[in-house]
């Protein structure tokens, strides 16, 4: 098949489905409405198929590491065994079975929760390292952060009874204004970026080689 067909055909499939979803958003046409709902659901299904690509990528990288005896190759074995073992367990016994739940409850869940909780340590180092009054604007950011922090806990209320009100003021009008300004600008960026993707003007994903 010709080279341009290989490029154009996927683009047209995308264009048609994208346009259907957008037209359905603006216009009430029953057939498009049904189709658009289907398309959005189809996308989620296709995306689920893509998960196997992730499995493939990990398998390739880690079997390389093992066969070439790269540094840490032993851990690659651990990864592959865990991944395929858990995958088999889930596919054979389903995710509701007790053994599957055991690993989910006692490994996945605490590990994942612990990862999130690590943020507090990095917040600590950010507080120590990053908040320096180098410019007047940095001073304003620092001041707002300190007031907001003290205003939202009991100890701040003991220190100064007005702190919660100040915190609410900073997190109210100022945060609304600053974040809304960013949101309006960013939404325009998102719309035009997405529009280019639909029209095929942005096509690095279609085997574009940066031409």
């Amino acid at each position: 098949m010709s080279k341009s067909f290989r490029k154009e055909f996927p683009m047209w499939i995308g264009l048609v489905s994208g346009v259907i979803v957008i037209v359905d958003y603006f216009f009430n046409i029953s057939i498009l409405s049904t189709l658009s709902k289907e398309i959005v659901q189809w996308r989620n299904i296709v995306a689920a198929f893509a998960l196997a690509l992730g499995v493939g990528n990990l398998t390739r990288i880690h079997s390389h590491a093992i066969s070439q005896k790269k540094e840490y190759w032993f851990f690659s074995i651990l990864l592959l065994v865990t991944m395929y073992g858990y995958l088999a367990l889930g596919l054979i016994t389903t995710s509701k079975s007790a053994p599957y739940r055991f690993f989910w409850d006692n490994m996945f869940q605490p590990l994942s929760g612990t990862w999130y909780s690590m943020t507090v340590f990095y917040m600590t180092s950010a507080c120590w390292r990053a908040f320096r009054i180098r410019t007047p604007q940095a001073a304003v950011m620092l001041g707002a952060a300190v007031l907001a922090m003290l205003g939202q806990v009991g100890i701040g209320q003991i220190m100064w009874s007005q702190l919660p009100a100040i915190k609410n003021w900073l997190q109210g009008p100022f945060t609304t204004a600053g974040m809304r300004g960013i949101t309006i600008g960013a939404s325009l960026g998102m719309i035009s970026m997405s529009f280019r993707v639909i029209l095929g003007l942005e096509r690095s994903h279609l085997g574009g080689v940066g031409e």
């Binding site: 893509a50 390292r129 035009s192 970026m193 997405s194 942005e202 994903h205 080689v209 940066g210």
Partner: protein, 252 residues
Amino acid sequence: MIRSGRVSIFVFFVLFAYLGYMAMSRFKKSQDLPIRRLAGLDAIDEAVGRITEMGRPAAFVFGNGTLEAQWFAAFDILRYCSRETAKYNAEMIVCNPLAEVQPVVEEVVRGAYIAEGKPQDYNPDNVRYLSDTGLRAAVLGIFGREKVAANFMFGNYYHESVIFAEAGNAVGAIQISGTANTHQIPFFVASCDYTLLGEEIFAAGTYLSRDPAQVGSLVAQEYAKYFAVVIMIIGTIMSTMGSKALDQILGR
């Protein structure tokens, strides 16, 4: 036919597209780039220079959020970073949390190497799928073991922003970040050397590629912002005087 409540948005959308098209054709003729330089982008070149000098790798980390426009903007920046690293024979590890874009990420990086005339240097093992929850662990591990000297963080970021930014700092990496997620921008601003705020991540791609379609849509965005400012001023004056007319028209 047209859904109620979406008339004004539809008119806006059509005008937006039309303006973008006009600006695109104008730029094709004049080639005059009408936008200012963004500071964070010079820093990318600086960072690539640094990793080349130090002989340590860079990391490009996507945010953990679902697939939407910020990802596309991140692809554009990834392409630029990959081309720069390919040009100077430096190494860059790409960390991707989302399986559905894994083919795209691989294509972008491979394409950058081909564009630089070095397809043989492309190492697919450096484009790593790490799964959403796994990403956090793996990125910290990669930072710690590979001692990355530069860290690019772009896309749909959540919680992980502060972890990656501070962990990257702990290994001494120069850090450039960008996201449109307002709840994460503060952490990037506090911890990174350069941060692209909100819409700037979309403008970055335009500046880097100078692609007519991108320039065109950036100009359209600019007009839309003028429109928004003017509308907000008029609307506020009107509502202060007690008229809700403009709000009602826009709500049609």
